[in-house]
Every structure is written in C-alpha cells, then in structure tokens.
C-alpha cells in the first residue's frame, strides 16, 4: 500500500566527532539513538591530574590577561607558553537541545568506545527506553568507564573552574581555549553509581539477532571486525533498510571478521568511524612501534605507551610476544597498569565466540586465544591496578609500561611522564589515535624524553570504504562532513575522501537531515478467510486483480485487513460480487474499468455508428475527439475519459457505451 510520503526519515546529528558519533534516527514511529560517543578531547585543555604530588605542576604560574588583570589566575595556569584550566577535566557531551532525548525509544551501541556518554544520556534526560549492545561491548565498556571514573575520582580536586567559560572572558583567552566550542555544556565525569545505573538499562544482544521494535522496525547487530563485540546495525522495515556502519575493520586482528554481505541492498548507509589516520598503515606502525621500543630499551631507556585498557593493546602484546625474543628483549619487564588491567586481560580470553576464527579454534585445543596469557605466566608481562602497592616493589628498569589515560591528563601515565620526561633515554610511544600527541604533551614541556607517534587505527580507510561501497551498493550514503573532503592538512589528497555516486550526504553537529528517500509502501496482512473470498481476474497476462472490501485494523504498527462484519441475511448473487454485496452500508459498486482507448479505432467505431465530421486534436495529456455536428467533446486522457455534451443524455449514454467497449470491466 503506498504510504503517506510525509513520513520521511530524519537524522538528528548530536556529535560532530566522526569517530565518536551520536545520532538520532526517526524512522517510522520509532526514535533510535545510534551510539553515544563522548568527545574527550576537551580534557586536553586541562592540567594533568598527578597521582603523586608534582611540585612542577602545583607551582605553575597563574595566567594573567594582557592588561595585567589576574582574576583568572586561580583557574588558568601557564605552562611553557600554553594555558591550561586547573580543575577537574570536563568532557564535551553530545548535543542535548536538538531533540527531546526523553523521546528516544532505544539506543544502539556499536562498540565500547562509542558508549562513553551513556550515563549522561540515560541518567539526566528522562530517557526511559532500552539500550542494546553485545556482551563484550558492555563488559569492556564498563571497564573503560570504571577506569575513567577511577582515574578522576582518586585525585580529588576541589576546584571547579567556571569563570573562564563566560563568553566575554573566553574571547580574551589564547588559543585553543578561545576556540573551544560549547564550553558551558562541558560536564565533569559521571560517578560509578551513574555508570551502574546506565549499564543496567542495557539489554544484551548477539550478532545477527533480530530485535523487533514496536512492530515497526527490526534492528540487527552485525559483526564489524573492529573490536571485541563491535557491531554495525541494520534497521529495517518491510520495505526500507538503513545500515549503520560505525567503527569497522577489514584487517585480520583479534575480533570476528566484518560481516559485509548483510549490508547489501540498503536504501541508506550511514557511515561513521573510519580511520582517523588514513595515511598510516597499521602494519607499518606496528613495525615502527617495535623498532622504537627495542632501540630505547637496548639503550637502557624506558618505554611508556599511553593506551586504553582494551583494544589495540591486545594486538600490541601479541606482536611483542613474537618480537621480544628475536629482538633479544626477553629479560625486559612489561608492565600493564590500570585499575581494570586484570579484568581486561581475563575478559579478552573468555569472549571466544566474539574472536576471529584463528583464535576461536585455539579454545578447543584448549589454549588461551591470546598469547598474553603466556607472557603473564612467564612473568614477562605483569599487571597492576595502580603504581601504588605491589608495583613499587617489583618495579625494575629499563622497562615498558602500558598505562592510561591516552590523553595524558589523568591516570598513572601522568606519573610516568613526570618521572621519565627528563631523560632523553626514555621514549613515549603514542599508539592511540584519539588525541593529538602534540597537544597531549603540551603541559609536560619542556620534555627531554623522545616521542614517537605510531597511531594504530585499524578502522576502514578510504580505499577499503570505496571497495565496501562497490560491494554493498547502497542507494545513498550519509556521513560526517569530514569525510566528504580531503583532510585539511592534505588538501590535495583527493583519494582521502569518500567518493561515491550519488555523492554522499554530509552532516555536522547539531544538524537535522531529512534522509533522501521516501517511504512508499507499507505491508498489510490479509486475514485468511478474507483472502479466501477473493477471486482474482487476469487482466493482462501475469497480472490479476481482485477487488476487496474489508476493515483495516491497525495496531502496534501492524496493519491487518479483516473481513467486514457480516450482515444477518446474506443475499445470494453472482459469486464474484458477493464480497461487495455483503457490506450492507456499501454503495453498490460499479465495475472497475481498465485498459486504454486506441484513438484511431475509436474514431472508426464512431463513424460506423453514424457520427460524421469527427476531428481529433492532440493535447498534452491525450486526445480530444470533437464531434462538431453534435457539439460534443470526448476527452481521452491517460487516467480519465470525459464526455462533454449539452444535456443530451441519450447521446452521452451512446457514447459512453462505445467508450466502454474498449475497456475491460471486472
């Protein structure tokens, strides 16, 4: 049944960060939030939270305006030419004003990096719906949140800076503070209580599981190949299909490979979470990582790897497992320090069904899927919840330390930066692509330590995207605006953007997009007894029609045609008209007509029946047959025929009958 064309799909874009998306899709009568990523780059404007009292950081001079006024010197500190906010770090939330978030029915999470804003949404907006995510996503997402809360809460900071956020004040500040957007909406980190409450609203799903939403749409998570439990989502009704691709990878790392086939035949493909470093090939970067690590350690230096407690670290450890013996580094200790280090390493080993085939098959041997188990067993890799406690007893140098947070603003990494920053023997290797390493290092300047930037981002690059699009052939592609032009730093690289036909529609933060397709059909069920009564008539080969009179029953977005209520005394009549005659209130149905009138034959027929002086005029929509003598017009158009004559009913009926001869009736 053709649908009301007004009920188009809309996309509300709440985040401008292409890899930390947060969009709301209004589709049929549902409101679906796709991911709720938290933009943590805002923390780069804040001073690091030192785990151990740092005289350097606590003695930084306050910042004063050019005119000498010092009213901000409590809030803003200066460090080697940069100005930082001296308060608890704050995060930039997704847009909350664009749409009433209490109307959101469900939230679909694609991977654990894209759910960090969840507590803000579920706990403070009146949200009453359900969140869907896979089990590893929830478990590792919880670890990431737990770590973040822990990092921030264990360094209590009384001060909360707000003066600088005043618009008139912010104008006067140096970059990048001056250019920071929507600072008034920045929020402090959530609490563990909020995290627990938010996570309790999550319902676990498995790949390819079909979830009905109010009977209107069906959503399905598909493996996306990027991280443990990471998914793309298909949102479909009977006649429309939207694919949401977020953070996918075609490389063979640890997760299950990406399911591409199921993305085929989409009307709209929403594409987010591509690699943030399109020019860096992860293999080359891993090589670079290993080489620099070995060079540093051989010279007696220490290596610091700021990282998240899950994800690429598994691959790095696996790579190092193979490399350390060849590089003669077997005696070098590797430390993994995070409040959730233990859980992360253990979780990775138990989610076998979410792993790539290679690792899955190890489980049957039985062997742990990841070799870091062996590193731990042989004491090469040791993990600690924090630098306090056991770690300080075991600590040996030179060593390699993996610890968070990659922004260098909180967590144990702050301590190591302070500890090792002064020696040029040491190296900090950045592998997480989420933060600009130069900005991350700014509050530690001047720094003698070597810095190596090997961002490892396994998400799709543009070549892979163009192959993927060729493969799945969506009708329309929608993506963040950043993907529709080359990166600003490499404006000539026309290969570093999405190139597809028709061109991708782009969105930016706080934009509402009408998605470019109209819903045209709705599926309606016919009750069996009603269907039984239909007598189709073939009107041309292969096409049969039947008239149906029924009651349309609509509930929960399901439409059903039911037989109309029966009258008490059915009159028997010709069988094929029974249906219409059953309805007492119904007007007597005229037979339906179909077919078209061939003008020439029609004119001949008219002549045969004694009409003369016939003129035919072509019009834009058909023909006009003019019976000049009778002063009568017959208008023949594609979907209508009019006989216009002056009060001569007999003539009209004659002409009508002649017209009807050319048409089929049923």
């Amino acid at each position: 049944v053709p649908n009301n064309p007004k009920s188009d799909m809309k996309l509300y874009c709440l985040s401008g960060h292409p890899t930390l998306p947060c969009n709301v899709l209004k589709f049929k009568s549902t409101t679906i939030m796709l991911d709720c990523g938290l933009d943590m780059t805002s923390t780069l404007n804040f001073l690091p939270l030192p785990l151990v009292q740092s005289p350097r950081l606590s003695n930084l001079p306050g910042w004063s305006l050019k005119d000498g006024s010092v009213f901000l010197d409590k809030e803003l500190k200066e460090c080697s030419g940069h100005v930082f906010v001296d308060s608890v770090p704050e995060f930039c939330l997704p847009e909350t004003e664009l749409i009433d978030l209490s109307t959101v029915d469900v939230i679909l999470i694609s991977n654990y990096h894209c759910m960090m804003a969840l507590p803000y949404i579920t706990e403070h907006t009146g949200f009453t719906g359900t969140v869907y995510a896979t089990e590893p996503t929830v478990q590792i997402g919880r670890l990431l949140m737990e770590e973040l809360v822990n990092f921030i809460e264990r360094v209590p900071k009384a001060q909360s800076a707000s003066l600088w956020k005043n618009k008139d004040v912010q104008r006067l500040l140096p970059s990048p503070l001056k250019d920071a957007v929507e600072v008034t909406t920045w929020r402090r980190c959530y609490t563990m209580q909020e995290v627990n409450s938010a996570l309790s609203k999550i319902q676990l799903v498995g790949y390819s599981q079909k979830i009905e939403l109010f009977g209107a749409v069906q959503v399905t998570p598909l493996s996306s190949g990027y991280a443990l439990g990471s998914s793309n989502w298909i949102i479909q009704s009977h006649y429309e299909k939207v694919s949401y691709v977020s953070g996918s990878s075609l490389l063979t790392t640890h997760p299950q490979p990406m399911d591409q086939a199921s993305l085929k035949n989409s009307d709209v493909l929403l594409l987010t979470g591509l690699t943030q470093i399109p020019t860096a090939n992860p293999d080359g970067m891993v090589g670079e990582f290993c080489s620099n690590l070995a060079l540093t350690v051989r010279n007696g230096g220490n290596v610091l790897v700021p990282c998240y407690p899950s994800g690429v670290i598994y691959d790095l450890l696996e790579c190092l497992y193979q490399y350390i013996d060849s590089a003669g580094l077997s005696s070098i200790p590797f430390y993994f320090i995070s409040p959730v280090a233990n859980s992360s390493l253990e979780f990775s080993q138990i989610f076998a069904e979410w792993l790539c085939h290679n690792k899955q098959s190890k489980v049957y041997l039985p062997e742990p899927p990841f070799p870091h188990a062996e590193l731990i067993q042989t004491n090469k890799l040791k993990h600690y919840p924090s630098i306090h406690g056991d770690f300080s007893n075991d600590f040996r140098q030179p060593c390699v330390v993996f610890t968070g947070h990659p922004s260098l603003r909180c967590g144990d990494v702050v301590h190591f930066m302070e500890l090792w920053g002064k020696s040029s023997l040491n190296t900090v290797i950045f592998t997480e692509p989420d933060f600009s390493y130069l900005e991350a290092l700014a509050p530690y300047q001047p720094l003698a330590m070597k810095c190596v930037y090997c961002p490892i981002d396994t998400r799709l690059n543009f070549i892979q995207v163009s192959k993927l699009l060729k493969e799945v052939q969506p009708l329309h592609v929608v993506c963040p605006e950043q993907y529709t032009q080359p990166p600003p730093a490499q404006s000539h690289r026309m290969d570093l953007m999405i190139d597809c036909q028709p061109p991708a529609m782009s969105y930016r933060r706080a934009e509402v997009l009408a998605l470019p397709f109209k819903r045209r059909y709705e599926k309606i069920e016919i009750m069996p007894e009603l269907a039984d009564s239909l007598v189709p008539m073939e009107i041309k080969p292969g096409i049969s029609l039947a008239t149906v009179s029924a009651v349309l029953h609509t509930k929960d977005n399901k439409h059903i045609l039911q037989p109309p209520p029966r009258p008490t005394q059915p009159t028997s009549s010709k069988k094929r008209k029974r249906v219409s005659e059953d309805v007492p209130d119904c007007k007597v149905l005229k037979p339906l007509l179909s077919g078209s009138i061939p003008v020439e034959q029609f004119v001949q027929t008219l002549e045969k029946h004694g009409f003369s002086d016939i003129k035919v005029e072509d019009t834009a929509k058909g023909h006009i047959v003019l019976l000049q003598e009778a002063e009568t017009l017959i208008q023949l158009e594609e979907d209508s025929t009019h006989i216009i004559c002056d009060n001569d009913e007999t003539l009209r009926v004659r002409l009508r009958d002649l017209v009807l001869k050319f048409l089929q009736k049923f």
Binding site: N281, M285, L295, H492
Partner: protein
C-alpha cells in the same frame, strides 16, 4: 641416498651478493652448474647402439606396442627419443632400422592406433620423424607407405586420439623433424599436411599452435632452399607451390578481421624473418609490408604485440633493414599509432637497433619519455623543466592512459621506468641523455607514491590518489633512480635525491621490498657522489646524508620484519666495505649504535639475518669498526667476536650463518687480520675441528678454501721471495721447508683434507683433490711412486685411508710424520681421482642400457607403484 648433493657445486664465490634475489641467485647458480655437468657428461658417455642395447630393443618395442603394459611416465619416452636422436646424428638411420626391424614393427603397429596409448603414439610420430630426417631412410619408410599412414590424411588425423593435444603435438614435431630434404617437401605437398598445419595454428593448445607456426616457417624455408645463389629472386607468384600456398595463407590471415588469425600470420612472419637471412625474404617483405601497414588503419589495431615483434624482427634483419622497402616508415607510423603502453616496447626495441635512422630514434625516445614528461607537466609548479622532455609532453593518449585507471597508470609507469633503466646501461643509449628532467621525474613519482607531492593541477591530484602507496611503482622508480646515479647530476639534484631516499628509508609505510630497493639506490648514489667529488672521499652532501642515515639504519636493524633487518645488514656490509677506511664515515658510524645492534643480530632467530649479521660484523671487525668504542675493552671485544663466530660455526643449526662465518674467517686469514695472525695455528685448528663435523657440504668446501689460503700463506712464509729480487726463480723444484711440513703435520689439516677427499659430496672431494695436487706439486713434485712406502707410519695411514674410502669414517688417521705425509701424497693417484671426480656420479646410471633396462623393469610393477619417479 648417500650422494644427495653430488651434482651440486658451490657458487663461484661465496661472498654475499648485492642482489635483490641473492638467495635465489645462489640457488640458480647451483641449478645451472647441475645442467652444465649433466650436459657435458651426456656427450661424453657412450651413446652409440651397443650390442647390449640392440639386445634389449625388441623387448622394449614389444612393451611399447602392448597396450596392457602402459609406460610409467613421459620422461623415459623423452629420454628414449633423445637417445635415438643422438644415435641418428652419428649413425645412419637406415642402417639402424634395417638392423632393428622391431623399430619398423613398432611404427607399423602404431598405424592401428586403437591398440596404442596416446603417449606411445606421440612418441612414435616423433620417432618416425627423427628417422625420416635422413633422405634414404625417408625413402625406406615411404616404401611401406608408413609415413603416409602416420602423417597423411588417412593417418593421425582420423584417429580418435587426435583429440589429445600431445598426439597433435607429436604429429607436428614429427613433421618438423622430417622436413629436411626435398623429398620431404614433396611429401608434405602431396599428403595435404600443410592444410592441416594451417588449421592447427588456431589449436586450443598453445604448444600445438605455436609448433604449427614453427612448422610453416620450416616448410617455407625448405621450399625456398637453394634459390639464393646467383640468380635474382623472382616474384612470389613464381615461387614453388608450397611456398606460394603458405604466403597466400599468411596474406589471407592478414586480411582477416579476427585478431587471432592476424596474430598467427604475424607470428609466422616474425619467426621467418628472425630465422633466415636469405634474399628471398626481401621479396616476401616487399609483398607483405603494405598489408602489414594496412593493419595500422584499423581501430583498434589488431594483435599489436605481435605487430611490434614483427617490426622489430624486420628491423633487426640485415637483409631487410637495408632493403629498398625498409621498415623505417612503417615503424614510424606504428610508433605514432600505437597506444603508449603498446608503443613502449617498440620504442625500446627501436632504440636498441644497431642501425636506425636518427629521426626514428628521436621519435622512439620521445615516446619512451612521454609518460614521465606528462608526470612532470602535471606536477610542475614552475613552468616546465628545460631539456629534451619539452617536446614530448602533451601526448593526450599518454595522459589519458595515466589518468584512466590505477592499473593502466601503474602499468605504463613501471614499463617506462624499466625501459629507460635498461636503455641507460646500453651503448645505444641516446645522447644527450636528459639526466636532470629524468631525475626530477623519478623523484616526483616517488613523492606521488609517498603522498608528499604537492600537486597544483587536478590531474596531479588524481595521480596522487592513484599512486599513493603503490609499491610496484615505488620499486620501479627506486630502481630507475639507482641507475640514474651513473649520470652526472648537479648538486641540487643530488640533495633532492638524498632527501627522497632518506624519506623512503625512514618511512614506516615503506614495505620491505621497497626498502631493499631504497638501500640499493642509496648505495649507488653514495658511490656516484664519490665519483663526482673527484677523490675517494665522500662529498660533504653525502656525509650530511650519512649523519641522518645511521639513525634510520638503527631503527631498521630493530625492525620486527626479518627481511628488513636482513637488508639493513647487507646494506651495512656494503657501506663499510666501500667507506670503512674513511675517517668521516668511521666517525659517523662509531658514534651510532649500528655496530652494537649488528652484533646483537648475531643471535637473531632468523638464520638469514644471522648470516647477514655475521658478514656485517666480520666486515666491521676487519675494518676496526666493531662495537664497544672504549679502547681498554677493545681487545676483549675483538676476541669476543672471534669467539662468537666460532660459537656460531660450531653450534648454529642452519647452514647459512655457518657458511657466512667461514667466509669471514677466510677473508680474515687472507687479510692477515691481527687476531687471526696472533695464533694462526690455533685458529686453523679450531676452525677445522668445527668444520670437519659439519653436515653442510658448502661449509666443508669453504673449510678447504680456508686451508688453501693457509697453505699458500705458510708456504710463502717459508719460501721468502723478494718480489723485487733480480735473481730468477730456481729452475728445479724446491725441496719443501722442513718446518713447513712439520707445521702441516702438527695441525689436523691432513686428516681434514683426506677425509674430504672421500667425502660423499663430490664438490668437496674435488676441492680436496685439487688441494692435495697443489700440495704435492709444491712438496714432492718430481718423485715417482716407487720411492714411497718407506715412511715410519705410512702403512697405518694407508689402512685408514682405505677404510675411509670404503665408507668407514670412524677410524682416526693418527699422528703423521712429514715423511709419511710426503710418501702418501706421492703414492695416491690424485690425477686419476681427479678424472673420476670430474665425471658425474650417475654416468653409469645415465647410459642408454640403464634407461632401457629401467623401462623394462618398471613395466611390470606399475600397479603397485604409481608414483614411481624415474
């Protein structure tokens, strides 16, 4: 099984070759030596029909004719055919057939093909052809209509086995073999075989199709035979019928609209013009060249590759290139008409011609340069670069190809770069050579590949997108860049080159193969910088470059990818070989951690890397460039390396590192390196103890090489000769210095060499034999065997040797007195042994008798042993 490696001989010199496929090259070297040995040997072995073979032949023929006894595999039939061919080369085929009626019986039996396997059928066809190559034998076979039965229309063509390609192939090869005399020509004309050959040109089997074309060329040449002398060549219309038939078939095919037919015709012509140099070819070309030229008017040009081959074949032919209807005009047209990718090989071929009009050379060179000119034009910020490339830009076809698709662009660029690279090294290299623009082009291509180019035009933007990260183009461009180092380049260009090389060496995105090419190119440019600076020192630019190179090398030596570590080590070896003596270089190297890292790689898990590390540290050590710069530890460190290498030699599980160690040791001994010279006897003893237990024959050969160096040096020490002395060398052979002999006997040297003499690997035995001959000539040249057996313990030694020869290696040789040693040397028939060793050890197994026996023997056991390998 004891002689697994007997055919292998060591690569001529063992040092690490600077070759992209050094491992491959080494193993190829081995393969070639095998062929050489095998080939030589076959000629020397007994190949005539001896009585034993005559006796075996009837049984064999019976087996072949019996369909119930299938032949094991094709290879023995091939060997059998080879043998018959050799026999017919030296003996009369007719005689052979008359002496062995079983052969004719076999051929007659084949006429009833339902009873014969296709393998035997194909074999018989070729055998018949080989016999019929001699005219009298041809007549003999014709008498029984045997040939007509095999090759005529009623013959093979009607068999059901004709559908099997090997039978068709055998038919053609048989005809090829017999087409050697006028009678054969008549036979071919009468039997209708030529028409069949025409149709076989389009055979689905490529081997058959190509053989058919070859056969046509044979027949054409045969029918024109004898027409060259004296009288002028008539027009084609007056040629023999057979030749006319072939020519008109070729003409028809050239007219055809089907590309495969045109290809066939062109291939026949190419082979014809490439094979013969007779004057009649001029007539043929005169008749056909308008047809060939008309192909150019078609769109698209059919069979462009074959056309290129034909034109080059014509241009190379001395008869045709100087003829009135020479190929130059049509060559020029073709160059103009073909697409850039097709024109490239033609242009290169044209430039390689010995004689060629200058105008055409200019055109061809322009075509080769065009893609690079387009790249320069698309990417140039300033107005185009000066030089030869000016006139060549703007080829719209080239631009279209470059921009059309990634594969077209990459293909054209790689081809162009390879062609120009090849051209530059040839004597025909065009002059003036546009060195600077070509350098710019190579650099800009590399920058397009690594994404660092800053394109100004949209075309360049597209190129950038196409070439970004393209490994194939990167490799080709680096190869080309390396070759360009031979030319003279201005200083700015050198700086540009060093910058791009450094970028490629340093980039984490560079793949191991790209990196290897970058190392090679770097080495060549460093060498060329020496050339330009005029003295053996590195230029200041090169030194600056070195300063940045070592940190990169350091990182590469730590790469997790073993190929990268390996190439970095090889590069280091070559660097220190060339500049190890240079103060600035030494300073840069020693201030880096490179020597220390190289030392650590001696323990690498990958054996190739360990071998390269051995070579590199050995080289550094001999240049005094080893790790640990503090002088107090120097001695210990050096001693440390010697011990490290000894340890590798005696314990490493892989052959490569052990061979590398011996090469280093031999070099050290040769150079008289201090640590070796300090106690040479201890050194040699220790090395030989390790080598004598080694399972790798190459290591043992290398050990003998080391012994030879030691002997030469020791001999020289005891026979001091001043090179400037006026006195003539003594005419009589000198008696050996007693101390020399005592030295030899003190070491386990003889035991080692004698054991090697009976080594199961032939190259080791050969080398040992040569070494003993050298020693005997130096110590006891004039004595005859009659003086022997007077030494105190020579008897026990001889017993030991006897045992060894019989394969019992357990018994030690015991102490040896110099006299006993001398006696032993004299008593051994070293020349005889040398002769025996020179023969391949299967010279018995390779005899025809053995072949026939084996074939007969395998027949019965086929079923149990299907996979039997002959």
């Amino acid at each position: 099984p004891r002689c697994t490696f007997w055919t292998l001989v060591p690569a001529a010199d063992g040092h690490q070759e600077w070759d992209s496929n050094s491992r491959l090259a080494r193993s190829r070297g081995v393969a070639f030596s095998y062929l050489a040995v095998g080939g030589k040997d076959r000629r020397t072995s007994v190949l005539i029909m001896d009585p034993e073979c005559s006796r075996l032949l009837p049984a064999l023929c019976a087996v072949l004719a019996d369909p119930r006894q299938p032949v094991a595999d094709d290879t023995c039939l091939e060997k059998l055919l080879d043998w018959f061919k050799t026999v017919t080369e030296t003996e009369s085929s007719l005689q052979l057939l008359q002496d062995h009626p079983c052969l004719v019986e076999l051929l007659s039996h084949v006429l009833k093909p339902q009873d014969v396997s296709p393998r035997v059928l194909s074999f018989a066809l070729r055998l018949a052809g080989a016999f019929a190559a001699q005219e009298d034998c041809f007549q003999y076979l014709q008498q029984g209509d045997l040939l007509l039965g095999l090759f005529g229309e009623a013959g093979a063509l009607g068999w059901s086995a004709w559908s099997i390609p090997s039978v068709r192939s055998g038919w053609i090869q048989g005809l090829c073999a017999l087409a050697h005399h006028p009678s054969a020509l008549h036979f071919l004309a009468d039997s209708g075989a030529v028409d069949t050959v025409f149709s076989l040109q389009g055979d689905p089997s490529l081997f058959v199709a190509s053989a058919a074309s070859q056969l046509l060329v044979y027949i054409l040449a045969l029918s024109m035979q004898g027409r060259d002398a004296g009288s002028p060549i008539p027009e084609v219309a007056a040629w023999p019928v057979c030749a006319q038939k072939i020519v008109s078939h070729v003409q028809e095919s050239l007219h055809s609209t089907a590309a495969p037919q045109v290809t066939q015709a062109l291939n026949v012509l190419t082979t014809t013009f490439g094979r013969c140099r007779s004057p009649w070819m001029e007539v043929l070309w005169g008749q056909l060249s308008p047809l060939v030229a008309s192909l150019l008017k078609r769109d698209p040009i059919p069979a462009a590759h074959s056309l290129v081959d034909l034109l080059l074949s014509v241009a190379r032919s001395p008869v045709l290139s100087s003829a009135a209807c020479g190929p130059w005009e049509i060559l020029a047209q073709t160059l103009h008409r073909l697409s850039p990718t097709q024109a490239g090989p033609l242009a290169l071929g044209t430039l390689k011609l010995q004689r060629c009009p200058q105008e055409l050379r200019t055109q061809a060179f322009g075509i080769l340069l065009q893609p690079l000119a387009c790249i320069l034009k698309a990417t140039a910020q300033a107005p185009g670069p000066p030089g030869l490339l000016d006139g060549t830009a703007g080829g719209s076809m080239t631009v279209d190809t470059l921009l059309s698709s990634k594969s077209a662009c990459v293909g054209l660029l790689c081809q162009t770069l390879a062609h120009l690279e090849e051209l530059q090294t040839l004597p025909q290299c065009p002059s003036p050579w546009p060195q600077e623009p070509l350098l710019d082009a190579a650099v800009i291509i590399l920058r397009l590949c690594d994404g660092s180019a800053d394109p100004s035009s949209s075309g360049a933007g597209r190129l950038c997108g196409t070439l970004a990260g393209c490994i194939r183009v990167q490799r080709a461009a680096l190869d080309f860049l390396g070759t360009l180092s031979q030319g003279m380049s201005p200083q700015e260009s050198m700086l540009q080159v060093f910058a791009i090389l450094l970028k490629n060496l340093e980039s984490p995105e560079s793949s191991p193969t790209v990196l290897k090419k970058a190392f090679q190119a770097t080495l060549r440019w460093l060498q060329s910088s020496v050339k330009t600076s005029g003295c053996s020192d590195l230029s200041p630019d090169a030194l600056l470059f070195l300063g940045e190179l070592f940190p990169v090398l350091q990182k590469r030596l730590c790469s997790p990818c073993w190929e990268v570590r390996d190439s970095a080590l090889e590069f280091l070896t070559h660097l220190s070989q060339h500049w190890g003596g240079q103060a600035d270089f030494r300073e840069e190297l020693q201030s880096s951690e490179v020597p220390m890292l190289a030392c650590q790689l001696l323990q690498d898990p990958e054996s190739y890397v360990r071998a390269s590390a051995v070579a590199a540290t050995g080289q550094l050590f001999s240049r005094g460039l080893q790790a640990t710069p503090t002088s107090s530890e120097n001695l210990q460190a050096q001693q440390g390396l010697l011990m490290d290498l000894m340890y590798i030699l005696s314990t490493d599980s892989e052959g490569f590192p052990r061979r590398a160690v011996l090469q280093v040791f031999t070099q050290w001994l040769r150079d008289g390196h201090a640590d070796v010279a300090r106690d040479t006897e201890w050194f040699v003893t220790t090395v030989l103890q390790a080598v004598s237990r080694d399972l790798d024959w190459e290591v043992r050969v290398q050990g003998l090489e080391l012994v030879q160096v030691f002997l030469t040096q020791t001999l020289g020490r005891f026979r001091p000769r001043c090179p400037y002395a006026v006195t003539l060398p003594e005419a009589t052979s000198p008696t050996p210095h007693p101390e020399f002999l005592r030295t030899l006997c003190r070491l386990p040297l003889f035991e080692f060499v004698f054991r090697a003499l009976f080594d199961c690997d032939r190259p080791v035995a050969q080398k040992a034999c040569d070494l003993l001959l050298f020693l005997r000539d130096e110590t006891a040249p004039s004595s005859g065997p009659q003086e022997t057996r007077d030494g105190p313990n020579s008897a026990s030694v001889e017993v030991a040797l006897q045992r060894w020869q019989e394969g019992e290696q357990g018994q030690p040789l015991g102490d040896l007195e110099p006299e006993a040693m001398l006696a032993l040397l004299r008593s051994l028939d070293l020349e005889g042994l040398q002769g025996k060793l020179a023969k391949s050890s299967d010279h018995i197994e390779k005899s025809p008798q053995s072949l026939l026996q084996d074939m007969l023997a395998t027949v019965g056991m086929l079923e149990e042993n299907e996979a039997d390998c002959y």
